[in-house]
């Protein structure tokens, strides 16, 4: 198991390097001078030169790259022009918010998907299955921000159970404020999860161990919870892992809709204020986050399903 994980970790190294390199080139992909764009046409040449120096743009490309790597190793993500603060300390405030939001939406995805998938796997032509189809069809087509706006309208304004946006200071208020955003992100992932889980459950129902459990007279309930759901749950975990990118993308949009001060809204602030260093750092952290989650998913998968460790 340890050897298996060490191998998996080694395989992730080139991906991490690639993510870092792509984020480095972001600053250089922009047409023109990023420092000039960031400060605007009216800025004095001296202040532009100062920013160029601060961002290291006055050095040669290989040297810039080496410095970038050196800074990253020391946990230094540069300085934000817009916030006038080191990005690492901004990240320390923003990242937990987004992580909590993504975790919460992953939990909600499972809470909604498991009963839906389980019902439509056992009753493929029942009302629930038809409802799931319709729900999937509509939700999959609807943009995330539209679902968010509708949830705000119905559960935040018409029947004001949840706050329509914002992020209060107290912990209880924060938890309450995250419910609707997390639900919005979750609804975008539910169709994929329901499909995957349902297929896994149907396959599990057709397997020999279920047939054997039936033939020895086990009732349907223990079969469903003890055998089918346990096995389908393994593929549920891996779907969730693959979908983390989609959940993070959802967080980016939904933090805008609900005015949640997370990584996504920081990235948007960086974009709208032409703060290149901030955009670069946010993209990098999002990328690294996904790599870490992929690793975690593989680990969880190997733990849940011993067969995965063999290959």
């Amino acid at each position: 198991m340890l050897r298996w994980f060490a191998r998996r970790l080694l395989l992730a190294i080139p991906v991490v390097w690639g993510v870092v390199t792509i984020s480095f080139f972001m600053m250089h992909l922009a047409p023109g001078d990023p420092a000039r764009t960031a400060l605007g046409e009216k800025a004095s040449n001296a202040s532009v030169a100062a920013l160029r120096h601060q961002w290291g743009l006055d050095q040669s490309m290989p040297l810039q790259y080496l410095n970038y790597l050196k800074q990253l190793v020391h946990g230094d993500l540069g300085t934000s022009v817009y916030y006038h603060a080191p990005i690492t300390s901004l990240m320390a405030q923003r990242l937990p918010v987004t992580i909590i939001l993504v975790v919460l939406s992953a939990i909600l995805t499972m809470l909604i998907s498991v009963p839906l998938a389980s019902r439509s796997a056992t009753h493929p032509n029942g009302i629930a299955a038809v409802a799931v189809r319709l729900f999937n069809a509509v939700v999959q087509g609807a943009p995330t921000f539209f679902i968010g706006a509708m949830l705000i309208l119905f559960l935040g304004v018409r029947i004001a159970i949840f706050p329509a946006g914002g992020y209060p200071a107290d912990i209880g208020g924060r938890a309450w404020a995250l419910v609707l955003p997390a639900l919005t992100i979750a609804l975008g992932t539910v169709p994929i999860m329901v499909r995957g889980l349902r297929a896994a459950m149907i396959e599990s129902y057709g397997s020999e161990y279920v047939a054997f459990a039936r033939s020895k007279g086990l009732p349907e309930r223990p079969i469903r919870y003890g055998y089918v759901l346990r096995n389908a749950g393994i593929s549920g975990v891996s779907i969730l892992g693959i979908q983390v990118g989609a959940l993070a993308s959802g967080a980016l949009v939904i933090e805008q809709v609900f005015a949640i001060p997370g990584m996504g809204s920081m990235l948007m602030t960086g974009i709208l204020n032409r703060d290149y260093a901030l955009v670069q750092a946010c993209t990098l952290v999002f990328g690294l986050l996904v790599v870490v989650v992929y690793l975690g998913t593989d680990l969880a998968y190997a733990r849940l399903d011993p067969r995965a460790r063999l290959s």
Partner: protein, 297 residues
């Protein structure tokens, strides 16, 4: 009696639920492949609206008319008017023009690039394949939207940036799909027969691999267009895509959102309906094509 016997007997007694049930359609629709025709019809309507927008739209989509702001649905204004007095129906129709065009055109480059890389990667394997797949891993490590938005920001707003950004990110899915297919094909007997009869490698790849893998890629392209519509609409919603005077579903919804609480739903619901209509059409079309081309997903 062994356990396997018992299992076999139990299996004949209890038929497991059908494995082949797809998500969308009931059985009678699948039998006649109605999904294909319904999807094609729904998409066709939208494409016609986009092409003949100037003939269909009863009003100018961009000129503000303060005297007729926020009107309800009527015969003159099928979908009502927005806060600046512009006819929402006309704007939805013109929105099809800008959004659908970009969404469909933005599929072409990733399709071609992904197909080429996927075939070469799957056929040759080796170091080229390793590099390609590592590159694919790196691109997919970034959340899709975040990479696209960052790229559009770096290259500046506008349709061209959106094309390039989408191409940079979404060729990977085609390459992975096609590579898997090509790896299976590589070991087929007809390939050995082609090699034996002296057909050049390029000839084999173009004449025999492309036709064999292209239908999978086409089916995937349908859901890829849906994703592109989502990207364009979201970019415009965030103020990074198509710039406001040009009608577009995303910016229409962004503008309508603040009027929702006041009871003016039309500004948001009609463009949202157009987005959902388009993706439903493409989903039906994709499933219908899968059925028609006999691809087992």
């Amino acid at each position: 009696m062994t356990a396997t016997d018992a299992a076999a007997i139990a299996r004949t007694a209890i038929t497991p639920p059908s494995r082949k049930s797809r998500v969308w359609a009931p059985a009678w629709m699948r039998r006649h492949n109605l999904q294909l025709w319904i999807g094609a019809g729904m998409l066709g309507l939208m494409v016609l609206a986009a092409i003949f927008a100037p003939l269909i739209a009863p009003h100018d989509p961009t000129t503000p008319d303060a005297a007729h702001a926020l009107l309800p649905v009527s015969a003159d204004h099928l979908f009502g008017t927005d806060n600046l007095g512009r006819d929402i129906f006309s704007r939805v129709v013109y929105g099809a023009r800008s959004d659908l065009t970009i969404a469909i055109v933005a599929v072409v480059a990733p399709f071609v690039i992904g197909l080429a890389f996927g075939i070469v990667s799957g056929y040759f394997g080796g170091w080229f394949d390793s590099i390609m797949m590592r590159l694919a891993d790196i691109v997919t490590a970034f959340p899709f939207f975040i990479l696209v938005i960052a790229l559009v920001f770096l290259m500046g707003n506008g349709a061209l940036s959106i094309f390039i950004a989408i191409t940079c990110v979404s060729w990977v899915a085609y390459a992975r799909l096609v590579r898997g297919e090509a790896m299976v094909l590589r070991n087929k007997e007809f390939v050995a027969a082609c090699q034996a009869s002296g057909i050049s490698t390029i000839g084999i790849l173009v004449r025999h691999f492309v036709p064999n893998v292209v239908s999978q890629a086409i089916v995937y392209a349908m859901s890829d267009i849906v994703m592109n519509v989502g990207v364009i609409v979201t970019l415009s919603y965030l103020g990074l895509g198509i710039t406001p005077p040009t009608p577009d579903w995303g910016s229409m919804m962004a503008g309508g959102q603040q009027f929702l609480a006041g009871g003016f739903y039309g500004m948001t619901l009609f463009p949202a309906g157009a987005v959902i209509w388009t993706s439903l059409a493409l989903s039906f079309l994709g499933d219908g094509l899968t059925h028609q081309l006999r691809i087992d997903r």
